[in-house]
């Protein structure tokens, strides 16, 4: 689905969301209940580098400074972090982490943050945006990827066909919205046949600052161990250790 359509569907009452020449999305939309929601994001599958992070983080901090609990929507269509020597030289890790931290700050300060993945999303840029929100939803057709299978095949030295076969039996490594749903990363996949503004309201209602993605992953059988390992660490650290059977 194209960004313009998505914005129309999300904000039938109007919005002032713009995409810059550098594919950086900023603005605000009018929710179904009349209240404003801040909107940031990356469009057109652009890569996110040090320059792109700054206006996004600035917008988040502006919302937090204003107070009042305005929620924030993060629209994501990015091919990943910018692969450039000079951006790395200037500390790209700090920039991407800064954006994530600003979103996490907003959440801690009572602003609900929603990630909406409608295009590509990968690796470092994924961590800085969609995965730093309270609740991440996907539109059918979105393509979240940690690494594409051909690259994975090169790095792991496993034949592409082997990876494709394996991907049929486990959601733990291959790209795909369904896999991320099963892993607990994506809370739900929206229904394009239903009004987007209603789904946004529902998503906001279900969002909270508590991170239960590992529990979701366990329930959906995508991550059988993560939630209980984390719990076991807490139990042992606080002196209430029990038994954790290995899978």
């Amino acid at each position: 689905m194209m960004l313009d359509e998505i914005l129309k569907g999300l904000f039938p009452s109007g919005h002032d969301v713009r995409t810059s020449a550098a594919n950086i999305i900023t603005g605000a939309g009018k929710r179904k209940n009349g209240e404003a929601i801040a909107v940031i994001g990356v469009a057109n599958g652009a890569a996110l580098g040090t320059a792109g992070v700054l206006p996004l983080a600035e917008e988040v901090l502006r919302v937090v400074a204003k107070g009042g609990g305005t929620p924030i929507l993060v629209l994501v269509d990015t091919q990943g972090q910018l692969m450039a020597r000079r951006d790395e030289m200037r500390g790209l890790n700090e920039y991407l982490a800064h954006l994530a931290k600003c979103l996490l700050l907003a959440s801690q300060q009572g602003h609900r943050t929603i990630g909406l993945e409608y295009g590509k999303a990968a690796a470092g840029a994924f961590l800085a945006t969609a995965l730093a929100t309270d609740r991440l939803v996907g539109l059918p057709g979105a393509e979240p990827t940690v690494m594409d299978l051909p690259s994975m095949s090169r790095v792991t030295k496993l034949p592409l066909d082997t990876l494709k076969q394996l991907a049929k039996t486990t959601p733990v490594f291959a790209p795909g919205l369904d896999h991320l749903l099963q892993m607990g990363a994506v809370a739900e996949i929206w229904d394009l046949k239903k009004p987007l503004d209603e789904q946004l309201e529902e998503t906001l209602r279900n969002a909270s600052s508590a991170d239960t993605r590992d529990e979701q992953g366990a329930q959906r059988k995508g991550r059988p161990m993560a939630a209980r390992v984390a719990k076991q660490v807490i139990a042992e650290a606080t002196g209430r250790g029990g038994d954790v059977a290995s899978a």
């Binding site: 320059a51 700054l54 983080a57 600035e58 901090l61 937090v64 692969m83 450039a84 020597r85 790395e88 030289m89 200037r90 500390g91 790209l92 890790n93 700090e94 920039y95 991407l96 982490a97 800064h98 994530a100 931290k101 600003c102 996490l104 700050l105 300060q109 690796a123 470092g124 994924f126 961590l127 995965l131 730093a132 940690v146 690494m147 994975m152 090169r154 792991t156 394996l166 486990t170 733990v172 490594f173 892993m183 991170d211 993605r213 590992d214 991550r223 161990m225 993560a226 390992v229 984390a230 719990k231 076991q232 660490v233 807490i234 042992e236 650290a237 606080t238 954790v244 290995s246 899978a247």
Partner: protein, 308 residues
Amino acid sequence: MMEDAATSSKASWFQATARQRVAGLLDPHSFTEFLGPSARVQSPHLHLFDLPSAFDDGVVIGRGTLDGKPVLVAAQEGQFMGGTFAEVSGAKMVGLLRAARDHKDLPQTVLLLMDSGGVRLQEANAGELAVAELMRAIVEARCAGVAVIALIGGRAGAFGGAGLTTATCSRVAVSEQGRIAVSGPEVIETNKGVEEFDAEDKALVWSTDGGKNRRLIGGADTFAEDSMEGFRAAAKALMAKVPAFDLKTMQAEQERLATRQKRFGACDDAVSMWRILGIKEPEAIRDMDSKEFAALANNIKEVNHDAR
């Protein structure tokens, strides 16, 4: 004894295993491990790829003391699957941070001995999620007053998710050998060509991702010697005072990063950045010894900040 030599105060941090680093960093006999190897909490996925697993999935966690002060510790084993974040290895770190966040009777300082190439590809989705959950847990712990200190100096460096995790911590220590980045040089070369980044050019790699550059541009708060005592001293110094995680800090970081982008946006190499910083002989940085370098970095005002 073999173990003693590898954990003695002058022993190399870079060469050491995760367990050796924990032993060398903390006060002797002070370490209690959580979910140790005999618990056999291993990866449920590696066997699908005919890969061996490790009893601790490559992460050692527990508590101990550093100079008498109670700390929680997580150490990544860079030699096992590149120290990568995966379902179990990631969950161990997430659990540790959540424990510190929620329990005031636990040590309120967490030392993260990072040594990771990023996310374990064989468990890519689980690993990526673990990083996201860890970054969130670190922020929440910091909001609860926990000091989270990243120590970077291992063979795998801190790449990808590990690079982002590092920059989420309250304070960062790095040695000359430590590398911090998002995409590794080889990945950039494969994707963008050798003109963009010649991964074989060691000096270029080092000046881009290496500890000295990170320290000089403010990506690390202290420079450590490559030894157990070097990192001990660094951790001790950083633990003493950490910035609060709040709007003020994030606004200060926004300004710091915007200034850096403006100042160095046109630089083609690290030496040009260092020259702009006011370093008289930037070419001499490379061969400068640790002590002299640390002193030089400590004296550059804008490099030493609370904006993290």
